[in-house]
């Protein structure tokens, strides 16, 4: 190989020799040479990136270790221990020492963001008058403008960040800013915009339940649930409306959970109608809801449809009977406990039997004495206060 190269060198200047030599190599070797160079450079780049990242991160940590205690001191001194708070002056009349916050340290973008993050963290732990004063500070320092600016960013995660900061600080965002985002192509942005709208809209927060066509993911449900149940000035409608008319199953099942949370007894008839639904998962959710509502009128219907139900619905029916606890179906429960071939059915029947307040101890004793070894075990399991499930 070297001899070939040398022979080229004799005839041509060195750079041309190298190029001619290279062109005459087999294709495989050419590719290998190119990739060697690429791999070498890429590896150097990777090492460089790692070092840059560590360095930048270390610098950020150092800056934070200086800024955060300073912010904490300012916040505790002027907000938490604010004189106006303890004297019960209305929040908007309290004079906040803004100059204290306008120090050079907090003027940079980094500093402002740290301040916003810290204020939001405080607000998550403390509400009431402290929370209101934090909000006032956020407004007067014009930090809301910083958050609004994020919503104008082209990157979707910045938009979401801005929205979340504003909702965490109970700022109102006008409909014209949120509504377009609720139709965004990015699913996460859509979900967050919906969440923000429900929290902040004065008019009809729940109209989304009418128009949203995509399924509500579990995480969205958790966020929405928290927003709905913790926002103070929201008027809670009767969720039966969507249980009856929505074609979006995840909305229906979400509304069932809300019905249980707000104990909307007058929604129960609508939930009863769901028992006819073809989807067995939805039916199981409806039965669960009726049980937690302790809706007595449902008991007879549940027992009557029991035999046609798949396993998961049957188990839900047994659980519901235990929760509703009228004592009217003790014999039915006893029947299922003694004669069902499925372990889980017997276990849930036993649990509901034991939970029922009207049930006599003699009945339980009789079941224990006459039962099979496995049934004895099931009963003892259900009666043991140390075992929760």
């Amino acid at each position: 190989m070297w001899q070939d190269f040398n022979s080229y060198l004799l005839e041509y200047p060195s750079l041309d020799a190298a190029i001619y030599y290279f062109i005459n190599l087999p294709l495989v070797i050419q590719i290998a040479c190119v990739f060697i160079v690429i791999a070498f450079l890429a590896t150097l780049f990777a090492y460089g990136s790692i070092l840059v990242r560590r360095f930048k991160g270390g610098r950020r940590d150092r800056r934070m270790s200086v800024i955060i205690p300073r912010i904490d001191t300012l916040l505790t001194e002027h907000i938490i221990l604010n004189e106006g708070l303890s004297e019960n002056i209305p929040i908007d009349q309290i004079q906040l020492p803004l100059e204290e916050f306008r120090i050079p340290l907090l003027r940079s973008r980094f500093g402002k963001q740290m301040l916003i993050d810290r204020i939001v963290s405080y607000k998550k732990s403390f509400t009431g008058s402290i929370g209101a004063l934090l909000r006032q500070l956020y407004l007067e320092l014009e930090l809301d403008k910083v958050s609004f600016k994020k919503m104008k960013s082209p990157k979707w995660n910045r938009k979401v960040q801005g929205m979340i900061e504003l909702t965490d600080m109970d700022m109102s965002i006008s409909d014209v800013n949120i509504l377009p985002l609720t139709n965004s192509k990015n699913r996460e942005l859509r979900a967050e915009a919906r969440n923000a709208y429900i929290k902040l809209s004065k008019n009809e927060p729940f109209k989304f339940f009418d128009i949203v066509t995509e399924p509500l993911l579990m995480w969205d449900q958790i966020e929405l649930f928290k927003t709905i149940t913790t926002t103070e000035e929201i008027s809670i409608p009767n969720f039966a409306r969507w249980v009856t008319y929505s074609s979006n199953k995840s909305i229906v099942s979400f509304c069932l959970k809300l019905i249980v949370h707000y104990n909307q007894q007058d929604a129960a008839p609508a939930v009863m109608r769901l028992l006819e639904n073809k989807d067995h998962v939805l039916r199981a959710n409806a039965i669960n809801c009726l049980g937690k509502l302790r809706y007595e009128e449902a008991e007879d219907k549940l027992v009557s449809i029991y035999s046609n139900q798949p396993l998961n619905c049957q188990i839900e029916i047994l659980k519901a009977l235990g929760r509703i606890d009228t004592g009217g179906h003790v014999l039915f429960l006893r029947q299922e406990f003694l004669h069902s071939s499925d372990f889980d059915i017997r276990k849930n029947a036993a649990k509901s039997l034991i939970k029922t307040t009207g049930v006599s101890q003699d009945l339980i004793r009789e079941l224990i004495d006459t039962g099979t070894a496995e049934n004895k075990l099931i009963l003892k399991h259900c009666m043991n206060p140390l075992i929760k499930f």
Binding site: D72, I80, L81, S121, Y122, S125, T127, G128
Partner: protein, 129 residues
Amino acid sequence: MRNILIIDDNDIVQLVLKKILAKEGYSVDIAINGKEGLARIGQQPYDLIITDLMMPYANGFEIISKIRQHPMGKDTPIIIISAITNEDSVLEGFKLGANDYLKKPITGRELIIRVKRLIDAQVSRAENI
């Protein structure tokens, strides 16, 4: 001067609670986890203990249980402050011996009233013995 012990690993909660309670005239000690909390209880009597539930090394329930078994802690009022809000956890807290359960976010005024109430009740109970 009444002594309060705060057991919490969250720096914001530690700082703010200490300031609020100190302003009301209480002397406040901070323990950053359960182990340290139990050590402090052994060193001096406290009039009130405020604890979180989720901490490293030992969770809040275990700490409450151990406080109640400790000779110097078995009558001390305990307030739980936690982000965990489900019914089971609340019930468990009370069954283990906590006197109060505050769900985050909390309001400063409510905290002060509850603290005052529990300490005053404890003091009058001690005086009546």
